[in-house]
């Protein structure tokens, strides 16, 4: 996908000296990146694949494994944790939709309506990024306090008869999805902002001149033109949300009944010390995301925008 973006550049077909030199410089510039990727991505990925096929050392201690080709690891985890995997994608997808519904109008307001007031625009952008100044764990913990059974949110809602007396928010799917959406809204808003900020408003005028009411203009003109932002925003939200293990953890906004695949991987690695299961789950998560994302990108017809 991303390779396409580079394929138009000088491909080194020309053989004259300056071209050769510039391609050598290009390689030299790419070297640190390539080294970094080999060291911190290819090697660990290889090790992860190796681990996912390991088997227990006969008569060994807990957490002692040897290299093998035990593909049953995969079928076992799918049987044991299929529900968690499904839940992860469901939660992540719901949170992504919510973040899009909140992030799009926000980005539109900042990128289009505030265009004439550069100072206000920068201020609004700072406000979008402001939550990053505080640790993500602290912010999630703060929400746990706010949404807790003793918190004012629950109390108010119960007083207003909006919630039955025995209701909880923390520990339910609602609070986990809420937490995911909340934590990833900036990742949704910023790419949307960059495309909306460049949106040519003369095209919107052309739409209304050609008998399209504001809603139709939005659907037929604004949305297609801001598709690159929608794609990158949803990907930047969906991918990390699907693998997130903080919001859904019982220590934060979730409970055991809301455990996502990230929580399962975490407990297999750190608590159960079942490294092969944790590794195979990680690889399953990775490949499902890869398949979903490429199908999504292909369907939106924006391969060359990535």
């Amino acid at each position: 996908m991303a390779i396409g973006a580079f394929s138009h550049g000088p491909s080194g077909i020309t053989t004259d000296a300056p071209a050769q030199r510039s391609s050598r410089i290009a390689w030299l510039l790419l070297l640190p990146g390539i080294l970094y990727l080999v060291l911190f991505f290819i090697v660990p990925l290889f090790s992860l694949v190796m681990t996912s096929f390991q088997e227990m050392v006969p008569g060994g201690f807990i957490g002692e494994y040897q290299n093998a080709f035990r593909w049953e690891n995969y079928t076992e985890v799918l049987g044991m944790y299929g529900e968690h995997t499904l839940r992860s994608f469901l939660y992540a997808a719901t949170a992504t939709v919510i973040a899009l519904i909140i992030g799009y109008p926000l980005a539109y307001f900042i990128g289009v309506k505030l265009r004439r007031y550069p100072l206000l625009q920068s201020l609004a952008l700072v406000l979008v990024i402001a939550p990053f100044f505080i640790s993500f764990l602290l912010r999630t913990l703060a929400w746990k306090q706010i949404l807790a059974d003793e918190g004012f949110v629950i109390a108010t809602m119960k007083t207003l008869q909006l919630l039955p007396d025995d209701a909880h928010i923390t520990g339910t799917a609602i609070s986990v999805i809420f937490g995911l959406a909340y934590n990833f809204i900036p990742f949704m808003t910023l790419p949307l902002y960059t495309t909306l900020e460049r949106l040519d408003l003369r095209l919107i005028e052309a739409g209304s001149d050609l008998y399209a009411n504001p809603f139709t203009t939005f659907i037929k003109v604004t949305v297609p033109l801001t598709m690159p932002g929608i794609i990158s925003g949803t990907l930047l939200t969906f991918i990390p949300a699907a693998g997130d293990y903080v919001n859904a953890s019982a220590n934060f906004l979730g409970s055991t009944s809301t455990a996502m695949i990230g929580n399962v991987i975490e407990s297999n690695f750190l608590v159960l010390q079942n490294f092969p299961h944790a590794a195979s789950l990680s690889l399953i998560l990775m490949s499902v995301i890869l398949v979903l994302v490429s199908a999504y990108v292909k369907k939106s017809g924006t391969e060359d925008l990535l």
Partner: protein, 388 residues
């Protein structure tokens, strides 16, 4: 001629456009100042003026892209002031073309038809593309087309809707001279073919004069003068029209007498004659003007003749040869620099030579005295000057 102006369905013909006391005020300045204007159905009307004169704002008010601060806009006798842009039976060819980059040419042209649920939009759009000779490019994207082709797509996209009124916002501005001339002819041909009312906004006086039936010269949010191009050119009513539309030699003086339908104007120690029927002023301060091509240049003092104004002798201070004609600047005592365009008859007067000038009194015109407007205001002129 009653046109369909409901916003749905095709207009069978163009519709009258009427602006009644329309104003558009922004904080600190007035873009359009109490403008009243009637454009008859089926005509090709040009709104001509320098940038910042309010012509584009006027167009946007008619299109519904801006709301007037005061006044009424009527199309085909129906008040559309309160309606939204998408409800108006009006289409615009934008200066930037504003083609949708994510759609093919055909989809761009079919856009308006689809919104109005017209039957068989693809067939009509294809026909419109044939009209502008771009049928073969229907499946391309706008950015794959040249500027001239994009301009024609923008035109097809607007014309295909058969609007009661078509607005053109300097659509030829981005084209080079040769293509512009060609597009001017094509536009004119399309207009007479489809019989729509065209309102063309431009700062190019030549474009306005060649294309339009009626030209309105606009300055500072007001219309200075309106009429057929030749009328405006031959008999300007204001200093602005006299200088913005072509060139004029202008002399400030005072009316000293009138006899037999002719005013005598004293400019310093010189006396100039102006037919009173061609003068906006009949007494007091006056500016007398005459177009440079109406002047004749003589090496020897011409004999005085009735109805002929003779001035001189003066000295030729500049000669520039422009092919079909030669432009002279002649310094005449009292009157100052006078510009003369003379057809190229092979005899070019050299710089420094002593000459006399003459013109038919019937070509002179009288206008109110006004402050010389700042030529730098006119970005077009400024641009032209920089190019020179």
């Amino acid at each position: 001629m009653v046109a369909e102006v409901s916003g749905r369905g095709f207009a069978q013909s163009g519709a009258d456009l009427e602006l009644v006391n329309v104003s558009k005020r922004y904080p600190g300045f007035t873009a359009v100042d109490d403008l009243s204007l009637t454009i008859p159905a089926g005509s090709f009307f040009a709104l001509l003026g320098p940038s910042g004169c309010g012509k584009t704002t006027t167009l946007r008010l008619i299109a519904g892209l801006e709301e007037p601060s005061a006044g009424t806009i009527l199309v085909g006798g129906k008040d559309i002031t309160a309606t939204k842009a998408y409800q108006r039976p009006v289409n615009t060819v934008f200066q930037s073309y504003a083609l949708f980059p994510h759609m093919t040419i055909l989809e761009n042209v079919a856009f308006g038809l689809k919104r109005r649920k017209i039957a068989d939009p693809i067939k009509l759009a294809t026909e419109a593309l044939e009209l502008v000779e771009l049928g073969h490019l229907a499946q391309r994207k706008p950015q794959q087309l040249s500027g001239g082709q994009q301009q024609r797509v923008a035109l097809a996209r607007a014309v295909v809707n058969r609007p009661a009124l078509l607005l053109l916002d300097e659509p030829l501005g981005a084209l080079d001279l040769k293509l512009r001339r060609q597009m001017q002819l094509e536009l004119k041909a399309i207009q007479s073919e489809v019989g729509l009312t065209f309102l063309h906004v431009t700062h190019d006086q030549e474009e306005a004069m060649t294309m339009a039936d009626t030209v309105a010269v606009m300055n500072k949010g007001k219309i200075e003068q309106m009429g057929a191009p030749a009328e405006l050119y031959e008999l300007p009513f204001t200093r602005f029209v006299a200088t913005f539309l072509g060139q004029s030699n202008l002399f400030d003086g005072v009316v000293t007498g009138q006899n037999d339908g002719t005013l005598t104007v004293a400019v310093g120690s010189e006396n100039l004659l102006v037919p009173s029927s061609r003068s906006q002023i009949s007494a007091g301060a006056i500016t007398v003007g005459v177009r440079p091509e109406k002047l004749e240049i003589h090496r020897e003092a011409p004999k005085a003749a009735a109805g002929r104004q003779i001035v001189g002798p003066g000295t030729v201070s500049d000669t520039s040869f422009a092919g079909v004609s030669t432009q002279y600047v002649v310094q005449v005592p009292v009157l100052g620099d006078i510009t003369v365009f003379e057809q190229n008859d092979g005899d070019i007067v050299g710089v420094g030579e002593q000459v006399w000038l003459s013109w038919s009194v019937d070509h002179a015109f009288g206008i109110p005295v006004e402050e010389t407007f700042d030529e730098n205001d006119l970005s077009t002129r400024a641009l032209a000057a920089t190019v020179k």
